[in-house]
């Protein structure tokens, strides 16, 4: 009887123990989940609500105001033009750099570190660095003057030179954000077993064939991650643009900032935010479908 009771007590405490062990992972996740609910889900819902409310009633007035604004069409055009120019260049450049890195024998670590320095640079600081180069009495003009290409200072970033302003911003973006793509791709390349390439080499594959038939398909998960992350961030382009062109080059997030901070019209700012979110989400879905990873490759 006593033995039985004892055994009962033991199994009871054991059950409590396993129950606690089962609850443990949830308890560990709970703080981060609560945080994300309050600072991710809630403001997300608020943004949606704010964008469709006009005083107390629902309306699309904010969207109408946004679309009717003089800067809206250029902002939309500029943002898309930047994304569509910068992302392909970054992808090709980062892929080339990742492949080159495999062949670097001397000082590989140093090269890799130098190439990933821009990862640490704020977009505002990157914009300012390129401003130092491209401003009227800047280093690009000094160089071109020294080699005799231009007779005097030449404006690149002004309102009258929209195409060079665009190129300057694109260059700064490529400079700043290629590093993150490179880093993700290098990490992905390290996961590809060397034997695959070696086997292909034995069977006489050229280096281009090895790249296009082996490395590229196996890099798909990394490419997907890199493209999603980069594209979402590219649609948020803002500080680089302000540092280089001020208000001369409207972009979507810049307009959201102006409506919020200067015009104090939170509804229109929210409409811009929803637009940026929708565009980012659409891009993510496109990448997920276009670069679908086969099941056997999901580790």
């Amino acid at each position: 009887m006593t033995a039985n009771a004892e055994r009962g007590a033991v199994s009871h405490s054991k059950a409590a123990g396993t129950l606690r062990a089962q609850a443990l992972p949830y308890l560990l996740l709970a703080p981060s989940l609560i945080f994300l609910a309050v600072l991710f889900a809630l403001p997300f819902a608020q943004t949606l609500l704010l964008s469709v409310s006009d005083g107390d009633r629902l309306s699309l007035a904010n969207y109408a105001k946004m679309a009717g604004d003089l800067n809206f069409a250029p902002a939309l055009r500029n943002t898309f033009a930047l994304v569509l120019t910068v992302i392909p260049v970054q992808l090709v450049l980062a892929l080339a750099m990742a492949m080159m890195l495999q062949k670097v024998r001397v000082a590989r670590d140093i090269v890799l570190w130098i190439w990933t320095i821009p990862l640490a640079v704020s977009d505002l600081a990157a914009g300012l660095a390129w401003f130092a180069i491209l401003q009227d009495s800047g280093y690009l003009n000094s160089f071109l003057y020294a080699v005799g290409v231009i007779p005097d200072q030449q404006a690149w970033l002004s309102y009258e030179t929209p195409s060079t302003l665009f190129l300057g911003i694109a260059a700064a973006e490529v400079w700043r954000a290629t590093a993150i793509v490179l880093m993700i791709l290098v990490a992905g390349v390290q996961l590809i077993p060397r034997e695959y390439g070696e086997a292909a080499e034995v069977f006489g594959a050229t280096s281009w064939q090895r790249f296009s038939r082996i490395t590229l398909p196996l890099l798909k998960p990394s490419l997907q991650t890199a493209l999603i992350l980069r594209t979402v961030l590219a649609f948020e382009v803002f500080a680089v643009v302000y540092a280089l062109g001020g208000r001369n080059f409207p972009v979507l997030v810049g307009e959201a900032f102006v409506w919020q901070h200067e015009n104090q019209d939170y509804g229109v700012a929210a409409a811009y935010a929803v637009l940026v979110m929708a565009v980012s989400l659409a891009a993510t879905v496109v990448y997920l479908r276009a670069l679908r990873v086969p099941r056997e490759q999901q580790a």
């Binding site: 996740l29 600072l39 704020s122 009495s137 280093y139 500080a239």
Partner: protein, 268 residues
């Protein structure tokens, strides 16, 4: 022939290094050269009269120190929050099999594929009501939402790298789960956790949009620079840029090893 190809290859590598380093060199040159260098035409590409005096003068401008201190406070808070919230989640993902695990991973991925800084816009209203507006704490909370996914992923990959057997051995010898974690796992994970913390610090230090939206007087350094951009002289702007670059590059240099571990795991 092979020698020629080698040369082309080496030139390419060096050219890409120059491409990365040149803008940083030039902003430093402009920032340290002072007023004279900024208006010099054509400019010299060598540090002729570089001195710390401009940078010193820049730091004496009203508000810069205050903004820098606000930036440090926000970044430090962001660092603490992301680790306090992210490391336990990372441990759970690394050590347990449980229902909802994949849903949680998906949520973390989702936050990464989302323009999070935009969420600062509606938060302005609630933060004003809660007394968090225009305070480094409020900025730090939004930055934590940005840094948390990375903290979770880095720490989960860290804990996965520490053999479970070590912990189990400690249980056998009578350690409780908490003791085993504190005495065995934590010391091994600490360098990596520090790396994740530094990464969170840099994310916050560099962030511009949310910081500018959520502050008016208690601006962070990025918010301060953004607002004075149009009215400050060129050499001050460059000095501000340099001030932003130097600490974060130094920090990322310290943790470079862990960044690859993070992306390697994050893709799986």
């Amino acid at each position: 022939m092979i020698a020629a190809r080698r040369l082309v290859f080496a030139t390419g590598v060096v050219a890409l290094c120059v491409w990365v380093l040149l803008p940083i060199y030039l902003i430093a040159l402009g920032a340290l050269g002072g007023r004279a260098a900024v208006y010099q035409w054509p400019k010299s590409f060598l540090p002729m009269e570089a001195s710390l005096s401009t940078l010193g003068a820049f730091l004496e401008v009203e508000g810069i120190w205050h903004a820098a201190i606000n930036s440090v406070i926000a970044a430090a808070l962001c660092m603490v929050f992301s680790i306090a919230l992210g490391a336990p989640a990372g441990y759970a993902l690394a050590r347990f099999q449980f229902r909802g695990q994949n849903a949680y991973r998906l949520l973390i991925m989702l936050t990464r594929a989302f323009p999070l800084a935009m969420l600062a816009l509606p938060l302005t209203v609630s933060f004003i009501r809660l007394g968090l507006y225009d305070r480094p704490l409020g900025v730090a909370l939004v930055h934590t939402a940005l840094a948390l996914p990375f903290a979770v992923l880095i720490s989960s990959s860290l804990f996965m790298g520490i053999p479970r057997e070590l912990e189990e051995a400690a249980w056998v010898f009578g350690c409780s789960r908490l003791e085993a974690f504190r005495k065995i796992v934590l010391p091994l994970a600490l360098p990596g956790i520090a790396a994740a913390a530094i990464f969170a610090f840099v994310i916050s230090w560099n962030e511009v949009f949310a910081a500018s939206v959520l502050t008016v007087r208690e601006r962070t350094l990025t918010a301060y620079l953004l607002t004075v951009l149009s009215e400050s002289p060129v050499h001050f702007r460059l000095a501000g840029g340099l001030l932003l670059i130097v600490p974060s590059v130094a920090f990322i240099f310290a943790v470079r090893r862990y960044l690859f571990a993070m992306w390697g795991i994050a893709n799986r």
